[in-house]
């Protein structure tokens, strides 16, 4: 008799219910393994998202026992309290079906925060010399490894309470660009993150930093944006 795991999976869209499955418990097993087993052996109609399954792409992020995590990097033994697991789609995002959340609002806010590089030179100009250990480049490098998995966005209470809030990921990307000396779009970017729903909405709960699988610190990045926008505002560069 193999030991089994009792797994609740969200089935449905915005409306739906949790459905319970019994899954063979293995010695080394990730939550993604569990979801995959259900889809392949019990119910082929289960919808979920994954790609690399080795902790590089962030596609498999889901809510596991109430916390947003990368399911491919979450070992069942670490989270299955009393042999039970509850898995749902990422919070704070619309549900497409079952375990797949609609990432569009997340990426729309990325654009709203002007998380896009604005070039300042042409190929005819000399290459910008950037010291890798300079303070601005260090700040940018500390913020740049975001792979847009959405875990921070799902963990953030301010996102939950304030539908206008751009969220930790979009603001962290804006911060990395604000520190990029090649970027020419900073006035517009600072204006974008200084508006309602921008960096000033952050309450420094640090849930983003606590949950980020890349060990990023959006709270610190957002604090940096608060300093830069305040200076720009007081100098009259933004309104």
């Amino acid at each position: 008799m193999t030991a089994t795991l009792e797994v609740s999976l969200w089935r449905g869209g915005a409306e739906g219910r949790y459905q319970v499955y019994e899954v063979p418990l293995r010695e080394n097993q990730t939550v993604l393994d569990v979801v995959t087993w259900v889809q392949r052996n019990v119910d082929a109609t289960l919808s979920y998202r994954f790609a690399c399954r080795v902790g590089m792409c962030g596609s498999c992020a889901m809510t596991v026992n109430g916390r947003p995590r990368w399911t491919c990097r979450t070992h069942v033994s670490k989270v299955a309290a009393g042999g039970r697991l509850q898995i749902g789609p990422l919070e704070n995002l619309p549900v497409i079906k079952d375990l797949a959340a609609d990432m569009r609002p997340f990426f729309e806010k990325w654009q709203q925060a002007k998380g896009v590089f604005a070039p300042s030179k042409t190929r005819a100009d000399a290459i910008e010399e950037i010291r890798p250990d300079g303070p601005a480049r260090t700040a940018a490098d500390d913020a740049i490894e975001c792979i847009n998995c959405g875990v921070c966005y799902a963990a953030c209470d301010t996102v939950r309470w304030n539908s206008d809030y751009l969220g930790p990921a979009a603001l962290t990307r804006a911060w990395s660009l604000v520190n990029d000396q090649r970027d020419a779009g900073n006035t517009a970017r600072l204006q974008a993150v200084a508006a309602s729903g921008g960096c000033h909405a952050c309450h420094s709960h640090q849930s983003c930093q606590e949950h980020c699988p890349q060990a990023l610190n959006p709270t610190a990045a957002i604090a940096g944006l608060k300093r830069r926008t305040m200076a720009a505002y007081l100098k009259g560069e933004i309104t």
Binding site: S8, W10, G12, G13, A14, E15, G16, Y18, T63, N65, G66, R67, Q86, G88, P89, E91, N92, L93, P94, V95, P105, E108, A155, D157, V159, R160, N162, S163, H203, S204, H205, Q206, S207, E210, H211, N217, T219, A220, A223, K226, R227
Partner: protein, 122 residues
């Protein structure tokens, strides 16, 4: 756009995090102070009806329950101010780790001072 459409068992894991509680304490203490302030101002304004009115209020406030409430107010004021100071440091100076410890120290210091107040007024 934000949707929390589905219900799931809430693991209070990150709800119980020190910094989330610190933020909640900061918000609730601010709200309590905002509700208290008009009452405080009205009490002081009693002087406009004559010194005796304020004096009789001070007599009334001499009872243990009121003194306890006053200690509570001192705690709320201090915890809100120290918590806010922690935020001002995060937002205006370079990042420092150890925010959980700082938040705990802020709350502890406020409690200690409020307790000293309580002991002194009894």
């Amino acid at each position: 756009m934000t949707a929390r459409h589905f219900r799931h068992r809430r693991d209070l894991g990150h709800r119980r995090s020190v910094l989330w509680v610190a933020a909640l304490v900061h918000r609730l203490s601010g709200l309590a102070l905002a509700v208290f302030l008009p009452l405080h101002f009205l009490t002081l304004g009693l002087v406009l009806d004559g010194e005796a009115r304020l004096e009789s209020f001070l007599r009334w406030s001499d009872q243990p329950l009121v003194k306890l409430a006053e200690s509570g107010l001192v705690f709320l004021l201090l915890v809100h101010m120290f918590g806010g100071l922690r935020l001002l440091v995060i937002e205006n100076l370079d990042w420092h780790d150890g925010q959980k410890q700082l938040a705990t120290i802020a709350a502890a210091a406020s409690a200690v001072i409020a307790f000293i107040f309580l002991v002194r007024v009894f």
